[in-house]
């Protein structure tokens, strides 16, 4: 089959953060130093090559970007400083945009003004809503709680499930992978283990156990906070255990994310050197979620929230921006796509 190359594709990828990838002279050092690269699944050079040639179909059907955990070794040893690690990161952003049927992901990734506009719109909507119920705290708390539940359900139904199906279609169906139905079930453990633990990161040569533990703690705290606020009603509960637990996890969230932000500011690892707006929004909003949730509960316990309604409105704004923009269309999705990527890739090896 004739393959059509598209050199201008690199301009498109640059909008997603790719840097200097056309410097690649195809020596394969990146693939050879990568400890996750195997004979069955060799990367990242193949991805660099596909990107330089603009082979969009090959990229779209590839799961390799999700198999990379960005330890940065390829970037550190690249003789041409073509930065393969950052290319893999950009490809993950690009794939997220491709999987998203609404097309909003792509717009938000590529255009910072659009992203800011979306954030402002959500903020305006929250303000409008709050004023429409004349800033009644009881109602706001109730609405916030309902919003969280509805948002989670809706996003899953109309964004994530179709997008994951698209991902499945691109990477499994289009590549004509024949996988027995039973394997979908027998491999499920792979999906969940990777979703919650990022097990593969530990195979990185760098053996950055701290990075792994830190990320794991953040994921678990975030999921716990979600559970605590949605199902245990943290803001209104009287249960002392739930209250203390909520304090602990929201505290962990803002401490860990503050550390992430400071690392990105310091640019001390290849992972942190080329932060895109989407990376900043993700860590900063997660930080704000932790801080505002913590403060809201603290003000409730000190009986100060009634006189400081602005705090709850701030929290609600952060929550709405997070749930309506960052979760469905932003970096949050790597939580799903990465683990599904590894799951699908496992299925592919079983089929061959």
């Amino acid at each position: 089959m004739a393959t059509k190359i598209n050199p201008s594709f690199t301009d498109e990828l640059k909008k997603y953060g790719a840097v200097n990838m056309n410097a690649c002279y195809n020596c394969g050092t990146c693939t050879a130093v990568c400890s996750l690269s195997t004979t069955d699944e060799s990367f990242p050079r193949e991805m660099v090559r596909f990107s330089a040639l603009g082979l969009e179909e090959d990229l779209k059907t590839s799961l390799k970007p999700w198999e990379c955990y960005y330890c940065g070794e390829c970037t550190a040893s690249c003789p041409q400083q073509a930065n393969p690690g950052e290319l893999m990161m950009s490809l993950r952003r690009w794939l997220t945009a491709k999987y998203d049927w609404t097309g909003l992901s792509g717009l938000l990734y590529k255009s910072l003004p659009f992203m800011i506009l979306a954030m402002i719109l959500v903020f305006a909507a929250v303000l409008y809503f709050a004023s429409s119920i004349s800033y009644d705290l009881e109602q706001m708390l109730h609405a916030g709680h309902n919003f969280e539940m509805i948002a989670i359900g809706t996003i899953f139904l109309i964004i994530f499930i179709p997008n994951l199906l698209r991902m499945w279609y691109f990477t499994i169906v289009k590549t004509k992978t024949k996988v027995g139905i039973k394997y979908y079930f027998t491999t499920l453990s792979e999906l969940f283990v990777n979703m919650f633990t990022q097990k593969r990161l530990r195979d990185c040569d760098e053996a950055d156990n701290f990075r792994w533990v830190e990320h794991l703690v953040l994921v678990l705290s975030y999921l716990s906070l979600l559970f605590t606020t949605v199902f245990l009603n943290w803001f209104t509960t009287e249960n002392i255990f739930v209250v203390v637990f909520g304090y602990l996890i929201s505290f962990i969230i803002f401490v860990v994310t503050a550390h992430f932000v400071s690392d990105r500011l310091k640019k001390n690892k290849s992972l942190n050197k080329f932060s895109q707006p989407s990376d900043w929004f993700f860590v900063i909003w997660l930080f704000l979620m932790g801080v505002t949730a913590f403060m809201v509960r603290l003000f409730i316990d000190l009986d100060m929230l009634v006189s400081n309604k602005w705090l709850y409105i701030t929290h609600l704004t952060v929550l709405a921006q997070w749930a309506l923009i960052i979760v469905p269309f932003g970096k949050w999705t790597h939580f799903l796509y990465r683990s599904f990527g590894i799951y699908f890739s496992k299925l592919k090896t079983l089929s061959s």
């Binding site: 195809n26 693939t31 130093v33 050079r45 690249c78 003789p79």
Partner: protein, 435 residues
């Protein structure tokens, strides 16, 4: 220690007595000019005198170098200072350069030494032999190497215990521990920089395990193993003395690599590796030799044929730069690389690995000219002010450059460049004769 300068006068100063400096010196001397040839090593002949054979003709390197070196050493118009360094040069007028030269003591009167090696036998100190690139040891009282010129003993004072054993056995009493560093002030009318290059130090790339893994050696060490004046008299891997039968070459070690600050091609490594591979196939007919490369650059006259010849002899060529090397218990090495033709990461076991190290500039001449008037290129090679018109001219009129001091090049190019530098220097001398 006396620091009084002895004033000397020559027509030309040549810095570096490798093949380029030597060739330039001969050209000038044969034209009747008095030349001072300054060399920092204990022997002249540079790197070429230590090589095995040369590409693409497979001529014996020593057989070309030694007659030339003898001619240089015996020429009435050439004075050689070995173990000497030019510390600074300044231009006072168009035909007057003042250079300061430090000549370290050899502690041996060269003219009396018969190279009988009795001092070597008597000396109790053993250190690594730098002229065999650390493959074997030598004594502190030693003859640098068998075809060195001057072929005379020298005392390595840094490692010497001053026990006096060599002095007692020396039949001509030529060993003299009272020798001191001499300082010279030289007046010369022109200068040729033939300061050569330095080899990349593979310790800068820890993932190749050089010095950590005993059977990972550099291409210069392999060059010594296959040279006529070789240390082991056969090809052995240094770890355990086994004759290797699966040898790997890793190309582009320290060249075309921005992570070590040397993004340029060294121009010689592909070809010397192919040459060594051919010689190894001859020396060890049962051995497998594999060359891991990014691109084979066989651009010179007869080079492509030479490359095809190696393929025909059965040398394996694998496109893919080696990413990392690990060692097995038996001393064998695992090379991890991406086979670019298949796009698949692979591992291969070899019992000996040769790192084809690149050529870098010689850092010792960086500050030799006062006021920094000599310009260098971004990789610290001496810049050519008129690359296309007169490639041996530098940013200072009257200072010429020859050989690899301008950038990596092979032996024929070095000699050509020395010819160009010497003819430019002669023109300069004639033009400024009456000034």
């Amino acid at each position: 220690m006396s620091s009084e300068n002895k004033t000397i006068k020559f027509d030309a100063l040549i810095v570096g007595a490798g093949i380029a400096g030597g060739e330039a010196a001969l050209n000038l001397a044969n034209s009747g000019y008095k030349v001072l040839l300054v060399e920092k090593e204990r022997s002249i002949g540079g790197k070429m005198i230590l090589l095995s054979k040369v590409f693409p003709t497979l001529d014996c390197s020593a057989c070309i170098t030694t007659p030339k070196v003898s001619e240089i050493a015996r020429h009435k118009n050439i004075t050689i200072f070995t173990e000497s360094e030019v510390t600074d040069i300044s231009k006072t007028a168009d035909n007057d350069f003042i250079a300061h030269i430090t000549k370290k003591p050899r502690y041996v009167h060269v003219e009396d030494c018969t190279a009988c090696q009795l001092c070597e036998k008597a000396c109790p100190v053993s250190v690594r032999d730098q002229y065999q690139y650390g493959l074997i040891g030598r004594k502190a009282a030693f003859i640098p190497f068998s075809i060195a010129n001057p072929k005379a003993a020298a005392i390595d004072i840094e490692n010497c215990t001053l026990c006096g054993a060599c002095e007692k056995v020396c039949p001509t009493s030529c060993i003299d521990f009272t020798m001191e560093t001499e300082y010279f002030e030289l007046h010369a009318k022109t200068v040729i920089m033939a300061s050569g290059f330095s080899l990349f130090d593979p310790l800068e790339i820890p993932r190749y395990g050089y010095e950590r893994y005993k059977n990972v050696i550099t291409s210069m060490q392999m060059e010594r193993e296959i040279a006529p004046t070789r240390p082991y008299n056969t090809i052995l891997r240094p770890g355990d003395g086994k004759v290797p039968d699966k040898i790997a070459y890793v190309l582009c070690v320290g060249s075309r690599d921005q992570t070590v600050g040397n993004p340029i091609c060294s121009q010689i490594c592909c070809m010397y590796s192919i040459k060594q591979a051919q010689l190894l196939m001859g020396a060890l007919p049962m051995a497998d030799v594999t060359i891991y490369y990014i691109n084979i650059r066989s651009f010179g006259k007869g080079f492509e044929e030479f490359y095809q010849q190696a393929k025909g002899m059965g040398v394996n060529f694998v496109k893919g730069k080696v990413g990392k090397i690990s060692e097995l218990e038996n001393g064998n090495l695992i090379l991890r690389y991406e086979d670019i033709s298949e796009g698949v990461v692979k591992e291969a076991e070899h019992d000996m690995v040769v790192l084809s190290v690149g050529a870098k500039s010689n850092p010792s001449v960086a500050n030799i000219f006062q006021e920094g008037r000599l310009k260098f290129d971004p990789y610290n090679f001496i810049a050519q002010s008129d690359l296309m018109g007169s490639p041996s001219k530098t940013s200072i009129e009257g200072v010429f450059v020859a050989g690899t001091a301008t950038g990596p090049m092979d032996i024929p190019d070095s000699i050509l460049s020395a010819g160009s530098a010497s003819s430019d220097a002669i023109s300069y001398l004639i033009q400024h004769e009456t000034v």
